[in-house]
Symmetry: D2
Amino acid sequence: MKLSGVMPPIITPFQNGKLSLDKIKKNFQKWNQTGLSGYVVLGSNGEAVYLNDKEKIKVIEVSRNSIPKSKIMIVGTGMESTQETIRFTNQSAKMGADFALVVTPSYFKGSMKPQILYDHFISVAESSKIGILIYNVPQFTGINLEPEVVAKLSEHPNIIGIKDSSGNIDQLSEIIHRCQKGFAVFVGSAPVFFPALCVGAVGGILAVANAVPNECVEIQNLFNKGKMEDARAEQSRLTPLAKAVTVKYGIGGLKMAVDLTGYFGGDPRPPLKRPGKEVEEELKQLLLQLKNSNKKSGP
Amino acid sequence: MKLSGVMPPIITPFQNGKLSLDKIKKNFQKWNQTGLSGYVVLGSNGEAVYLNDKEKIKVIEVSRNSIPKSKIMIVGTGMESTQETIRFTNQSAKMGADFALVVTPSYFKGSMKPQILYDHFISVAESSKIGILIYNVPQFTGINLEPEVVAKLSEHPNIIGIKDSSGNIDQLSEIIHRCQKGFAVFVGSAPVFFPALCVGAVGGILAVANAVPNECVEIQNLFNKGKMEDARAEQSRLTPLAKAVTVKYGIGGLKMAVDLTGYFGGDPRPPLKRPGKEVEEELKQLLLQLKNSNKKSGP
Amino acid sequence: MKLSGVMPPIITPFQNGKLSLDKIKKNFQKWNQTGLSGYVVLGSNGEAVYLNDKEKIKVIEVSRNSIPKSKIMIVGTGMESTQETIRFTNQSAKMGADFALVVTPSYFKGSMKPQILYDHFISVAESSKIGILIYNVPQFTGINLEPEVVAKLSEHPNIIGIKDSSGNIDQLSEIIHRCQKGFAVFVGSAPVFFPALCVGAVGGILAVANAVPNECVEIQNLFNKGKMEDARAEQSRLTPLAKAVTVKYGIGGLKMAVDLTGYFGGDPRPPLKRPGKEVEEELKQLLLQLKNSNKKSGP
Amino acid sequence: MKLSGVMPPIITPFQNGKLSLDKIKKNFQKWNQTGLSGYVVLGSNGEAVYLNDKEKIKVIEVSRNSIPKSKIMIVGTGMESTQETIRFTNQSAKMGADFALVVTPSYFKGSMKPQILYDHFISVAESSKIGILIYNVPQFTGINLEPEVVAKLSEHPNIIGIKDSSGNIDQLSEIIHRCQKGFAVFVGSAPVFFPALCVGAVGGILAVANAVPNECVEIQNLFNKGKMEDARAEQSRLTPLAKAVTVKYGIGGLKMAVDLTGYFGGDPRPPLKRPGKEVEEELKQLLLQLKNSNKKSGP
């Protein structure tokens, strides 16, 4: 299993506020027919912060049963506490996760000095039964993991990659350039997916891939074939939708877009909300533009 | 019971990584002899983000048994999810908390628009069996609750106050000026405790009060007596220590200072660490300077 | 002449885009009848960045002729280049300025390290024929001068004070506490004028004092008499107007308010603009509220 | 003359604090033998903020005489005032500048709303006798010009391009995608030169090109030939030096690197300083690594 390609951090469907395992299964049935290389379960976009421990276990279970062996299963296992992160990572490993995505702890921002973060990841890596991917997402955590620290962490045999969602291509280049050969660098920001591939990223873990997986995969396919102009054009078509379902309308918008493309999204948990009718119209328009201009891809 | 005065957000002692209920009790025995008006249990400085559900329950239990009826007991009950916040708030109420301190949800920073935050607090207030204090702490959450929103929230009968830890006196003044009469505004940043009192705060919820409660109380006593110069001088003596145990050395530094003043602090949970010997020396010096220059207070 | 009290950084009136020396004179005639202790000429609010060298000289000339010996005349002389700052400071000295207000150079933000800024101010102080006040205004310069550096600079006999416009009362307290006895600390942010006095500021250099000088002076008078509640109440009345003519509507708003209080404001220079009719109505309301609630002051 | 390729914002040499026209000439003689497509005179790196009006005129004069007609001459003419910007732009035009680079005015950051900035650029463009390039450089100005505004400005026939130094590739992509066909988008941040070309930039205006012009040009040449891997590798070699002479050591470091590559750099004007010996050693090492790994280029 090669750690590369496009993966969505899968959304978690609720019905009447309750976890809908059935809808998760159905979403996987459709996603499995696309060019996605794998999935991130319990990521930020999976509203992991709104799930209790039991719910998390159920999501892992049903995901494990729904993901074929040919596709990668990554589970988001990062907690504020080092000890809890280790515990949940190994629980996920036991339940069949291929890799763990571990977000930087961040509540005590001022104390999260480079050495503290380094030690945290090393502790987790030492104790984890599966390979660790670092998750750097300043827009949610309020802290950034410096390329220098990532480079040192990449020397540990059980730290095998990173998802960098900073959107900073300079930083991504530096990480790729400084890290150990074979360290898997994923970009976590869809609007810079194409330039990230140009500077050497192995793939993208992209929220918008929940809704339009093949359109994301197509960018990487075009890039791999050396069709730079086409890849760039496809990126330009994807970007407006990608921004709408992240920065602009958040998870409520993402779930709405997911509903509009034949999957099940539903409502996010409060305090998040589903956006109104005008946003739905806007998303429909964005999807239409993307699909019309691109007859090549899609199931 | 008047909602005012100095309260520490109490630290949570661990021994060998495990919760030490015994040490919590002992700390309360000493704090109860000081001029503190009450306590915040499971606040940021209580490392609530590093405690699991069972541990939280135990901390509430032992605190409830240790806090006399003459002192206020506030429990930090804010979670990312509205529903979980309500659940835990009412569990705390049932266990005897006087009030709940509810932090702004913040993981999805970009989505935490004023209306979303307003609705969250209103939902919690509507369902809560005890009065709610809003907790605004941008240095940890990465978001700020605007005075305009606080003013609107203060109209709800079950939203009775705020702890504002922004350190922004302009904002604190505006909150005090715009909120309903009787709305209890606490400052959560010790270096601006005196100016906060000047602009109308009713008290302070101060990390450094874990270690030097009476020195904090003395500032408010002097202020109440109209001894402005003395209050200001006492503030200037307190500030260097207050900064050392928050911004500079974080909870590891706070727990060390607590150990140095006859309470039990111990180590924080990883990824946090206890600072080294030089920091201990620095804290000793700061405590010495504070105690020497101030013979008036202390238990 | 005691360096304290309320001073406006005076606005610079234009007519048809040209400097109006006549209107400057007329404004001074009115201001001179108020309780203002002095003036800052060619400050930020004087649109100094939009004036060429000749215009600056004229403004100094007419100001010198209009300011009585009983009031302080400070001239803003800070430039990006150390050499040019020295040249213009001494030119201003020769023309009769009592003191020079020297802003932190800031264009190359990343290079403006503490030592660079320290050396700049020392160089200027060494060569200046008049006393220097440091001007720290992060909202315009994008950099902040740390209290530690200010403390060291305060040891120089020719660096006699600071105008700190950060609005950060914690920082202001630290500056006052750490600086040499007699070092004159002015606050440059009207909404925190009262708390600044509480922590030991000697006065305020306040944009809004262009329009309502006596209302500003009244806050300090009440404070000096120990009437804390009245001072705080006056501050709360002033704040909305103060914010409107700085943060909210900028210099265009300030000049409009100046026009509404019987002085001459006129239009700012482009790219700045005079706000529209609705803003004028809003400012009228704010002035009305301020004047109504306060019958004690005004020329 | 096609507006594309690599241009340095040329440094301004001083000797004993005075402008050295002779050294400017000599630098041009060498630069003219490289693959540079043109030059920016009086840019940020030219220390324009430290030059007085007469000095600026002299720099334009000697530059005009030194730049062959086959290479582009752009002059930095942006001032805080709209009127002064127009005046200096047309003076530069009269003196032979091909284009003007106009930085966003920025002193009154809070007032620099999108409409204000739009109107400023339109006013300048309307009155200018030469084509205007917008200059967006948030690290110096503290403000960012949104892609939406740039797109609208690109509709004006006399606004022909932009230098975006934000380093934000997402923003650069959006500008390129939204602006009028033929609008020349230059990146102003060397570490993202290669990804900027990938997303459609026509060239780079790069500080480090003062010292190693051909190494910069080589990246674009390789990119144009479709040799993506080689271009990326060359970028990785250039980046450490590029960061050292901008973010890390600023203009003092840049001038030092320029001295080390056979041009004349000299000292920057105070408050800027020339870095010490260790930085010189570091820069020598960085240059050695760059030259060794790359035998293909150089004058």
